[in-house]
């Protein structure tokens, strides 16, 4: 029996989440800058699932919490305040809502419980070597043969794909039409014959993403979500809250806190030149917080979030990079150390600097987002 979270006061709900994370968080890192792999983060995923906290936005009758935007935000705030690691959330955050909107009843009945139980760990197969920012150019192909789709092609930059046992992909199912109109959304088990992966080491030397190859891979015809050739629409329709949260000031605020710690350690905290630059960055973080709040207010009011929300991500990600630049300056020769100096992760300038690289690339590169803003928000000609 799921408690009625809607009837709880915000304060009661906040206390519930805070108490839960403080008592139930397993013995795994807090505030990790890198993504943790499934073998490490699985106990936390299962704790969330057992308590019914894994899928806050899903409806209650599907095992979710049915949270309003306001309560969802409280939950996010409390988990982040504690520094809880991000779990493998492609299933809960992306596929689940997509199935709820476009899936058949049979698909919902089969896949949603398996996301909740952790039996299925999902990866997202969107990007390809020739389709990054221009995602609609995907070439990975699915052809109908009898009762199956037969898939051939390659996906890449698949985050934590080596941990996943299922992947959803955007596949080309019609080459004769406008590129967006010939894409379908398919579900593929990664243990199917013909699926193989190859890890990609990132700049930190870690395998955070991989390539996925499809060589005559067969999946049943009912492993499509939505209509044939309607995959692009489905893939683009989601991510309401996520588009706001990706621009949250939290990442920059925590980088600023680490920078203060580092500056004190290096004896630069009272240096007026440093402080002048630090204060300027701090003002940026606070101003971003005020702008972010206007979008949270819109989520609460149920106001439509438009293309302008990308402003948050553009400024947030570049601000994080500017903070990481100053962090490297303060660290001096320690900038190039592979491991945290003296075992103190907050002194590890290189980790901050490297973690600041993907933020302007993934989730819409800043250059693409500026194009979108110029056209859709400023109304400049194409």
């Amino acid at each position: 029996m799921t408690p009625d979270y809607t009837a709880m006061s915000d304060a009661e709900f906040r206390a519930l989440i805070r108490d839960f994370v403080e008592t139930e968080y397993p013995d795994i890192p807090r505030f990790p800058l890198e993504r943790l792999h499934w073998d490490v983060v699985k106990p936390w995923y299962l704790k969330l699932s057992q308590r019914g906290f894994l899928c806050p936005t899903w409806p209650v009758d599907r095992g979710g919490m049915g949270l309003t935007a306001a309560k969802h935000l409280i939950m996010v705030e409390e988990l982040e305040r504690f520094g809880a690691a991000r779990v493998h959330d492609i299933g809960p955050v992306m596929l689940g809502p997509l199935l709820l909107k476009y899936g058949t009843e049979a698909q919902k009945d089969h896949f949603l419980p398996r996301i909740l139980s952790g039996e299925h760990v999902w990866a997202q197969g969107y990007s390809e070597p020739g389709a990054g920012s221009d995602l609609a150019a995907v070439r990975c192909e699915a052809v109908q043969q009898g009762e199956d789709w037969v898939i051939n092609g390659q996906k890449t930059w698949t985050t934590l794909g080596m941990d996943a046992n299922w992947i959803f992909i955007l596949a080309r199912t019609d080459k004769t039409v406008k590129k967006q109109a010939g894409i379908s959304f398919l579900l593929v088990p990664m243990d199917a014959p013909g699926v193989s992966t190859r890890n990609i080491l990132n700049l930190s030397g870690e395998a955070e993403f991989c390539e996925v190859f499809f060589d005559d891979v067969r999946v049943p015809l009912d492993h499509i979500v939505g209509e044939v050739n309607q995959g692009w629409t489905a893939a683009k329709a989601l991510l309401g809250h996520e588009r706001v949260f990706i621009g949250a000031p939290r990442l920059s605020a925590s980088a600023l806190a680490r920078l203060e710690h580092l500056a004190r350690h290096m004896g630069q905290w009272s240096d007026p030149v440093f402080r002048d630059r630090f204060v300027a960055l701090r003002c940026d973080v606070l101003d971003l917080g005020d702008l972010f709040q206007t979008y949270l207010d819109r989520l609460r009011d149920g106001t439509e979030i438009g293309a302008d929300v990308a402003m948050l991500k553009v400024f947030q990600s570049e601000l994080y990079q500017r903070i990481s630049d100053l962090t490297m300056e303060v660290a001096g020769p320690a900038s190039g150390l592979r491991h945290p100096p003296q075992g103190d992760r907050r002194l590890h300038a290189a980790a901050t600097y490297l973690s600041a690289r993907p933020v302007t690339i993934f989730g819409g590169s800043t250059e693409i987002l500026r194009n979108v803003l110029a056209r859709a928000v400023l109304g400049l000609p194409g």
Binding site: L286, L288, L291, T294, D308, R370, R375, P381
Partner: protein, 352 residues
């Protein structure tokens, strides 16, 4: 705010903006502004009276003292509109005088029959009163006072209170310098000027409020300069295409938009926090960062606007030039950015 509904400020702001259309024409014409440049003080006393007739100078005078007792959200909404119109009349300075003087705010200033400005800084951006106020006679110096050249009355902030000083009182000397916007900036010299001092324990907060209102003016200025520039990017053609179709310009325009939205969000949130009772530490910090953001944004947007207007941008004829020169005149009026950041740095230790 006593007894007022939580959302009264929305209706109040709408009414104030409607009435202020008598000052800022809805069609966006800048002909009046252009014509006033270099004409004495650079503003029109008749328009000062018009604003007085609308009751604008009473906004920040408490209701108990016969004022309107409106909040900073309403004040910032007004100042943003004045910034859009590059209004040269010292309306913000008169509102500030009213807030400082309360019951002692002269009626002829409140109704706009007399032009009243505020002299608050001894040296740029500081409240340190270095002059004397002995036996009811003021001596000292105040700097960076726009509009004083056309003023009848000057509210002088001292360590012992606020004085109302007639511009033509014995011992008053104004040193006027022309500013780029076509107005004047004054330095005020007081040599044994006889004046009554009115206690003003809230002077620090009034100055911070005025700084925030100033940032709102810079917001309006930036928004309008940006809107003119977007229009130009859509219309101006080179190589057979509108120049706004070029990605280099699109990306730069996007950055300006982001800066403007940050300023808008910071000003509106800060005004709301103060209206709802922010503590003094937060008030000081947030008004300072709005000042920084306002100064940076107004200068950035207006100079980028000049660049995007090409050679037209460096002519006197193009309206965009009015914006860059107003931004240069006003951006640092409430203090130099480096000094403001130094003040914020002092607050770091006590920050949460």
């Amino acid at each position: 705010m006593t007894g007022a509904g939580m959302d009264d400020w929305i209706d109040n702001s709408r009414m104030i903006l409607d009435s202020a259309r008598a000052i800022v024409p809805a069609d966006g014409s800048l002909a009046r502004i252009r014509g006033l440049r270099g004409q004495g003080p650079g503003f029109d006393p008749a328009m000062v009276a018009e604003a007085g007739g609308l009751g604008l100078y009473l906004m920040r005078v408490p209701e108990a003292a016969g004022g309107l007792g409106l909040g900073l959200r309403e004040t910032c909404a007004l100042m943003r509109l004045l910034g859009e119109g590059l209004v040269p009349e010292p309306i913000g300075a008169t509102i500030m005088a009213g807030a400082l003087l309360a019951e002692a705010f002269p009626e002829q200033a409140a109704n706009g029959d007399a032009v009243m400005v505020t002299a608050w800084q001894d040296s740029p951006g500081t409240l340190d009163w270095q002059g004397g106020a002995v036996g009811g006679r003021l001596s000292g110096r105040k700097c960076a006072i726009p509009g004083a050249g056309g003023a009848d009355l000057i509210a002088v902030l001292t360590g012992a209170g606020v004085a109302v000083v007639p511009r033509d009182a014995p011992g008053v000397t104004l040193h006027l310098e022309e500013t780029l916007d076509g107005g004047q900036m004054a330095t005020l010299q007081l040599d044994g000027v006889r004046a009554d001092l009115h206690p003003c324990p809230g002077a620090q907060a009034v100055v911070q409020d005025a700084a925030l209102a100033h940032a709102a003016y810079l917001l309006g200025l930036s928004e309008r300069a940006f809107a003119l520039t977007l229009d130009y990017l859509r219309i101006r053609e080179q190589f057979g295409r509108p120049i706004g179709s070029f990605q280099a310009l699109q990306h730069r325009a996007t950055d300006l938009k982001i800066r403007i939205e940050l300023l808008r969000a910071a000003v509106e949130a800060t005004a709301a926090r103060i209206d709802l009772g922010a503590d003094p530490t937060l008030r000081a910090r947030d008004t300072d960062r709005c000042l920084l953001r306002g100064a940076e944004t107004a200068l950035l947007v207006s100079r980028e606007a000049v660049q995007m207007h090409g050679a037209m941008g460096i002519t006197d004829e193009a309206d965009i030039g009015l914006f860059v020169r107003k931004a240069m005149t006003l951006a640092h009026l409430f203090g130099a950015p480096a000094a403001i950041r130094a003040r914020l740095a002092q607050g770091l230790e006590t920050a949460a």
